[in-house]
Symmetry: C2
Subunit: 336 residues, 2 copies
């Protein structure tokens, strides 16, 4: 197939947007013209693509009929404003903001529920899930047909990069200040992030749940197609720049055969099973890689119906930009 | 009571040993003579107590009949060698190494199972549990009579200080190197600890469990007196100097009334319940404090039979030294 496509990336100046551009180049995505877009505050800068600097233009004045596929890597407000416009212009819309409802743009992780894409009305609107849901879906999907999932308990230890560049700078700045015995300033985070763990990422509702946690429960059920699965989630902010880590316990209806689990994970797409005795880390394994790493595959200490896993993933790549580009790769096969 | 007691601290040069000495002073423990002991390699230094520097002497040549109470804050080998000698000399033995079997020296956290002390043969031998088991016991004991515990799932995010001074130095050194773009060296940890999370603290057995995790399961069941409780544990090493954090899910047999839980935690000894909407952190709340902090008290997203908690504790104080001194405070009431 020599066909190539005009593509737009909205939110091109953010970490995820820039990574989408980089991955389009890395994977030789058949891009004809690339249009980089942002809100008026961010427009004007440029992002390298295939050896040239592509200027970022204002999304407000863009004619979406010029492109076939649009990635929305912008915030919820920008995505809400322009996704409908892009879809009305006939574009395939891939949303990373999480703002489009599941009924309009289902959450899809190719390794877990690619079959959903085939049934969508044209022009397609699809969501690339949160980094946490994506990583967990890649790791759990291969086991879904083999084991009877009762309950998933997750502690997600999230990298600060998911909160943007300001969060990354603040962790570095606080760390330097502490090591030099200088006074600590917290502007972005609500308290000391360096050498600490924050137990709440976002503002909790009256029940104590933060939107990130509720979204993870909803998205994981949707992607795994297990609508009544019990999912218990705590998202914590770790003093880690890049790469998410997940401590996961899955209760099954009966005893889990670890050989079967290991064989299924070994054979699965998009993940790498780390040898028993070893374990992956966010920084040492996941960052910069396209696969989700799974290790510490074990029962609970004396309960063979519980499966414990440790999962690490690059929150910006597979957690966001790569998954979105993979969705585009599948969707362009059906474009005229 | 004006009676005072001759006391020995074995392992007095370690972080926990030094903190025991400090807490004995802080709490006006009725110390007559204080004998600080260590293996031959560490003897010779001194530790401040009540305005004087107390010299650390060799445990090997110490006459245990000179003291009434001995704290073993040394490693397992030293404790194994000298605890029996101390007990034979009539001393009350308080072990922090975890090496003495439960049948000989039960695990006790005063807030959870102080009643165990009354039934012990004299001279008493008792164990102060691991920092993780202690923190979890303080937080869960007040709920034990109110709720029907089915299963506890814990991700324990441990501070490097539990591994000793070398671990603390390596985290500081690695962090400085990374921020200055210098090459990274890992001597103590098996890989990069700075800005990373390590999923395995210790060497796993053939089933993938590390001793720390197995000990936590055993100790928690013993302290809570729930011998068949299902406990699933993952201990991870966080890039935090001091203070442990725990993400905990407890499944109950039926719906949990959060008002009842909050009231029980509010009334409990040794813990501080953090207001809904807020949460404690290791660094901001726990470190240097005597209480265990509990926050984020909530159900799972849509399962009222699951209780989720976030717990932080000073691993050196309440997790070790303070708990041991509290045990001594209770035990000296029965000494002649």
């Amino acid at each position: 197939m020599n066909q190539s496509f005009d593509i737009a990336v909205v939110g091109a100046t953010g970490t995820v947007g820039e990574t989408i551009v980089q991955i389009l180049e890395e994977r030789n995505f058949p891009v004809a013209d690339l249009h980089l877009l942002a809100s008026i505050e961010s427009a004007g800068s440029s992002v390298p693509f295939r050896g040239k600097n592509v200027r970022v233009r204002e999304v407000d004045v863009f004619d979406f009929s010029k492109v076939k596929v649009v990635f929305f890597a912008a915030g919820p407000a920008v995505t809400s404003s322009y996704a409908a416009k892009a879809s009305a212009a006939g574009c395939t819309v891939i949303d990373l903001s999480g703002v489009l409802p599941a009924s309009q743009a289902p959450q899809v992780v190719p390794e877990a529920n690619a079959q959903v894409l085939a049934g969508l009305p044209k022009p397609v609107q699809v969501s690339s899930p949160s980094p946490s849901a994506t990583a967990l879906a890649v790791a759990l999907a291969p086991l879904r047909g083999l084991l009877d999932f009762q309950r998933v308990t997750v502690t997600a230890c999230l990298a600060v990069s998911a909160q943007g560049r300001e969060a990354v700078s603040e962790l570095a700045r606080q760390t330097t200040a502490l090591l030099n015995l200088h006074p600590l300033e917290s502007n972005f985070f609500d308290r000391q992030m360096a050498f600490n763990l924050l137990a709440q990422v976002g503002t909790p509702d009256a029940q104590g749940h933060v939107p990130l946690e509720k979204r993870l429960v909803t998205q994981l059920r949707e992607i795994l197609n297990l609508p009544t699965l019990k999912v218990s989630v705590t998202c914590i902010q770790a003093p880690v720049f890049f790469g998410d880590s997940f401590s996961v316990s899955v209760q099954m209806a009966g005893p889990v055969d670890l050989d079967v689990v290991n064989a299924a994970l070994e054979a699965a797409d998009g993940l790498e099973l780390v040898d028993a005795g070893d374990y992956p880390t966010a920084v040492g394994d996941a960052v910069g890689q396209d696969v989700v790493y799974v290790g510490r595959v074990r029962h609970a200490v004396d309960d063979t119906s519980e499966l414990n896993l440790w999962i690490t993933s690059d929150n910006v790549r597979k957690g966001a930009a790569l998954n979105a580009v993979q969705l585009a790769e599948l969707l362009i096969k059906d474009l005229p």
